[in-house]
């Protein structure tokens, strides 16, 4: 059903974009469309609601749906330019400010945290109660991970084309810890590591913790990491690892096509540079099948796979995992040294949750929600922000990358927004350079409320104001 009404919505949207239906026109009635398209009335209604969320339709009481073509068809952001000098990593202060802001109650458009309204709260609670009753099983060091959790992970990985045994899985406190362990396993301090740019702040923080230098490779808004940029970097620098989010990268939302994943894996294997894959958004595809991870194309055991349930089940569990492959011995050791093991109860609870089979059902609802909520935010931004703004069109996850018109400072906008209790993530958090000074990341996973709506309008007004007094771009 989900797939069908999205198809209908895409079809109608195409007709609007092509000008078959023009702004202000009333769409044919629901029953007429139902006959024309050979789908049920309820499918048409769902498609209408979807297009309303995307900003293409407006419902008028008793009159039906009217076309409201978004003021401009905002483009996706351009691919960032390439920089080829390794830099030490420091991205500290602003992250913590954001984090502290989360504690106070602001309009939460900054951090990439799922909204509790869309989490399976009741099922998690039931599984946690089940886990709590395990008594002795909950009390011992769960190193390298609870057997039941590792077995469930192995089963899930098999459905993604990654055939492993439970012994290949190491439980971690979220994906961030997994990435740090992976980096420690394959690098020494001072080494150079390639990452996507814009990068999610966590990876820059991980590189800083391990004391590494970074080469930032541009990310294409829909195809992901530039393989051409990576090839260049591999020629020029002694890279020791490459960290990539192939599925619904943060902040760009890009999904690398399978053919490019295959090429990425084989390029890095040929260069003998380990690929550290972060797949935390993989389960949150907006359309089609759950995309495969790069690990599924790994024939030489050169990919270290990292993931977590922080974007799907809840960040409070602090539960992730990694598949270190031939680096298992080193990864186990690093995990043991930093905090010995991962808490037992979350592992038992998630194993139970997965075993019950409720996870896939929940994901179907979550995907639909995030597709609609990011679409809705995207069209609100398109309406509210100045001409020249570009917004990513994510294929999964729930964040949007907003490129402001040249000369409008994301940092300045961030500061003005904070003063009005609106929290956004300024572009400079996503690179070690200032090349994203005119960008923002917005969390599109919130329920659409009047508070969020007016926050986006305020942001747009601030951006307009800033455009009248543009900042001077300092040389990066």
């Amino acid at each position: 059903m989900g797939v069908l009404y999205n198809q209908v919505a895409d079809q109608l949207q195409g007709l609007i974009v092509e000008g078959v239906y023009r702004e202000g026109e009333r769409l044919p009635g629901v029953r007429v469309l139902s006959r024309q398209l050979g789908v049920s009335v309820s499918t048409v209604l769902q498609a209408h609601q979807t297009l309303e969320a995307r900003g293409y339709l407006q419902a008028r009481e008793r009159s039906g749906y009217f076309v409201r073509r978004p003021a401009r068809d905002v483009p996706e952001p351009a691919m960032p330019s390439h920089r080829s000098r390794p830099l030490p990593v420091t991205a500290r202060d602003m992250t913590l400010e954001l984090c502290a802001d989360e504690e106070r109650r602001m309009v939460p458009l900054a951090t990439a945290v799922p909204h509790p309204d869309y989490l399976p709260v009741r099922q998690i609670q039931q599984s946690t109660l089940w886990a709590a009753r395990r008594g002795l099983e909950t009390l011992d060091y769960a190193f390298p991970g609870k057997a039941s959790f590792r077995r469930q992970i192995a089963q899930r990985m098999a459905t993604l084309g990654v055939v492993i045994t439970p012994d290949d899985v190491l439980a971690t406190n979220g994906a961030q810890e997994a990435i740090i362990i992976a980096l420690r396993a394959v690098t020494e301090p001072g080494d150079i590591v390639a990452v996507e740019t814009p990068s999610f702040p966590g990876i820059l923080q991980a590189l800083e913790v391990v004391g590494l230098r970074v080469i930032e490779i541009p990310t294409h808004p829909s195809e992901g990491l530039s393989l051409e940029g990576l090839a260049l970097a591999l020629e020029q620098w002694p890279l020791k690892a490459c960290v990539v989010v192939c599925n619904h990268s943060n902040p760009m939302g890009a999904r690398m096509p399978d053919a490019r994943k295959r090429e990425l894996v084989s390029m890095l294997a040929a260069a003998n540079v380990p690929l550290i894959e972060d797949d935390i958004y993989g389960d949150l595809n907006h359309t089609g099948e759950r995309p495969r991870p790069a690990k599924a194309f790994d024939r030489t055991d050169n990919v270290i796979y990292c993931s977590s349930f922080s974007k799907t089940l809840s960040p409070g569990l602090r539960l992730g995992w990694m598949i270190p492959g031939r680096h298992m011995a080193s990864a186990r050791q690093h995990k043991y040294f930093v905090n010995l093991a991962t808490s037992s109860i979350p592992q038992l609870a998630v194993a139970h949750f997965l075993e019950q089979g409720g996870y896939d059902r929940y994901l179907r609802a979550a995907r639909q929600h995030y597709r609609e909520s990011t679409e809705r935010l995207r069209s609100a931004v398109a309406r509210a922000f100045p001409e020249g703004t570009a917004v990513s069109r994510p294929q999964g996850g729930f964040v949007l990358w907003v490129q402001l018109p040249d000369g409008v400072s994301g940092t300045e906008l961030y500061q003005r927004a904070r003063a009005e209790n609106i929290n956004v993530a300024p572009g400079r958090m996503f690179s070690t350079t200032n090349k994203f000074e005119n960008c923002l990341r917005l969390n599109g996973g919130n329920p659409w409320t009047p508070v969020v709506e007016s926050a986006v309008q305020r942001l747009g007004m601030m951006a307009h104001e800033l455009q009248e007094s543009p900042f001077k771009r300092s040389p990066s």
Copy 2:
């Protein structure tokens, strides 16, 4: 009551040690002693059982208690000699072997993990069930820690003479993570840090993770870290931190007297070297009052306090905390960078447990148990091991430090024991040098079973065998 029967036991033990009662003699009847000492019959019986555990009495059915003076009155180990060269830290391989061994079922005399028989399993379960029912509260990033947990910690710290607010507490995945965060907050890679020697392996692993060099300061078997050795090191080296377990150090079991704690704190404050205090065994004093931490004597905010519930409530919770004082901003940042937050449910569960007031009641029972079980193991070792063996007399916690006769290799003994499914911790894990080659650490917290008893006898026989073919000590 606990105190009284221990006093009686100490009194009787003194009479045996002094030769008032000789080996093989029958003690006066219970009623006679009860009258003589002015205590109840049940107190005398408890004292007898305590002395039986310590190896000084043997119960013979229908005949009463007979003196069995331990074969030799084994001495405490000597204070290790002082080394004054900073060394890089590597202590990796053997730790992991021990850890893997724990997975298979061996006689668990190696790792310092509390035995589940003596954990408050039912209460933890009830508190975890309570926590699981908190729903939304369990789902968010608990950074820098759940308010209820931090409030309970602040209350407990006040009873130890450390007056802080909940905002001064940072929740961590156990004390190991807290120590690593503390080290990162006050050092740079390559810096020199002073630790006790023998040191627990975790601190050496923490130093390795952060990339530090170490100066090992001898620990006196009952008074703890040598202040004289520390003074020398402070003169000679640019120390950046000093990590100390003041209360019931692992592996020595020493408890630093309050006067020396005060001196330690003031020496380090004068030298402007932060003291990182690990207090995980503080709650497990065998006698008297719960000792105060060094932090209680800190007037200049120079002590970073670290602790956890891994030795008391259970290691599987992975729940610790730290009080970073003026290093809070840096500590928060490091915690956020390495894994964002500590799992919510264990924090809520422990906060509930503490609030219910069951913790102190549980501790009274645990202290008594560990006193008795370590005493019992100590006398079994004294009987089974060769002349020339020395064994620590811990004042808290549940580990024993065994110094084998000169020339007997702890590593060799460890390997032979493994072959017979007995797991012990060889001395070389406790230093970056080989100065503890003739030592072992034993976990004295297990219930006394025939399996444990015969394992200790086997270890003693192996030590006798090794004494006949001593190893060549290589220069350290």
